[in-house]
């Protein structure tokens, strides 16, 4: 069993902390802890940076052929709809 306020606990809850998913008491516990714990502070900074960088990841899009096929699909769907 993990003690509620050690580094392992803080590490587990960091993700929720970043996503505003923790209640006020737990948030305070983390904020108090990181003031006195440099590794946890660094850990938080890294998790936060990871999350920020992830928001900038650009994934590969559909191939031009697939886009053309989709457009064609949409047109025939829309036409069929109009006719009925």
């Amino acid at each position: 069993m993990i003690a509620p306020k050690d580094c392992v606990w803080v590490g587990r809850e960091l993700s929720d902390y970043l996503g505003d998913g923790l209640d006020a008491a737990d948030r305070r516990t983390i904020e108090t802890h990181i003031v006195i714990c440099p590794p946890c502070r660094a850990n938080l900074a890294q998790m936060r940076a990871t999350r920020r960088a992830a928001a900038h990841v650009e994934l590969e899009g559909l191939s031009p052929d697939a886009v053309i096929a989709l457009t064609r699909t949409f047109r025939s769907w829309a036409r069929a709809r109009e006719e009925t």
Binding site: R51, L59, A66
Partner: protein
């Protein structure tokens, strides 16, 4: 704190989009495909033996969306609905392709229970340092923004997606890459809050490790 710069369709926008689709507005459809396409393709890829099949899954998903567009009632966000259909399509196609992954790998809601970064804490029964850091966390928190958000670092993140379990990848993609709220992600993937939290935490820790290795501080 907002980390997401992507458009977030809210409910009223959704209904406008749905009305435009129903009216056969091609530009609305193209915009939607462009916005959701990359994430749809990446998610579908986990189920598909090839990129061609993944693209097929995305095609099929849009066909299903169009055929059911009159039934969309706006109870969930449009994108949640689209991605739910995508996951269903992916599973169907995976089965058809005979590439159906073993059941245990499907989402792996409970994961393998291991800490993604083992050996970094003293054991819980350590007389003095239980639950404290056993290693230093090297601080790369001062990494300049242009390096963190540079093409290479983002490439490291993209490649690290391959090392995640499917469940971790799905949750990470929707939560952190797309910036969806946790509740919507749970809705689209059919996860409990607890599962979603665990998957997201493990995924972030793994991606962070990859980033750490790239930034010169292997952890």
């Amino acid at each position: 704190m907002s980390v997401d710069h992507r458009p977030r369709p809210s409910a009223p926008t959704d209904s406008a989009v749905v009305l435009a689709l129903r009216a056969g507005d091609e530009r609305t459809f193209a915009t939607l495909c462009g916005d959701y396409g990359p994430s749809m393709l990446r998610l579908a890829s986990s189920f598909a033996p090839s990129r061609a099949v993944a693209e097929e899954i995305v095609q099929e998903t849009w066909v299903s969306v169009l055929l059911a567009i009159d039934d969309f009632e706006g109870r969930a966000a449009l994108r949640t609905w689209v991605f739910t259909i995508l996951i269903n399509c992916s599973r169907r196609v995976a089965a058809r392709e005979g590439r159906s992954v073993p059941f245990a790998a499907l989402g792996r809601p409970h994961d393998d229970g291991s800490d993604p970064v083992p050996g970094r804490f003293f054991d819980a029964d350590h007389p003095r340092w239980a639950g404290m850091w056993a290693t230093t966390v090297d601080a790369w928190r001062w990494v300049p923004e242009e390096q963190l958000l540079g093409r290479e670092a983002l490439g490291v993140i993209t490649r690290s997606l391959d090392t995640l379990s499917r469940g971790q990848r799905e949750v990470f993609l929707l939560c952190d890459v797309e910036g969806w709220p946790a509740e919507e992600v749970r809705g689209a993937l059919g996860l409990t809050a607890a599962n979603q939290r665990v998957l997201l935490h493990r995924a972030r820790a793994r991606v962070r490790s990859a980033l750490s290795a790239y930034l010169g501080n292997p952890s």
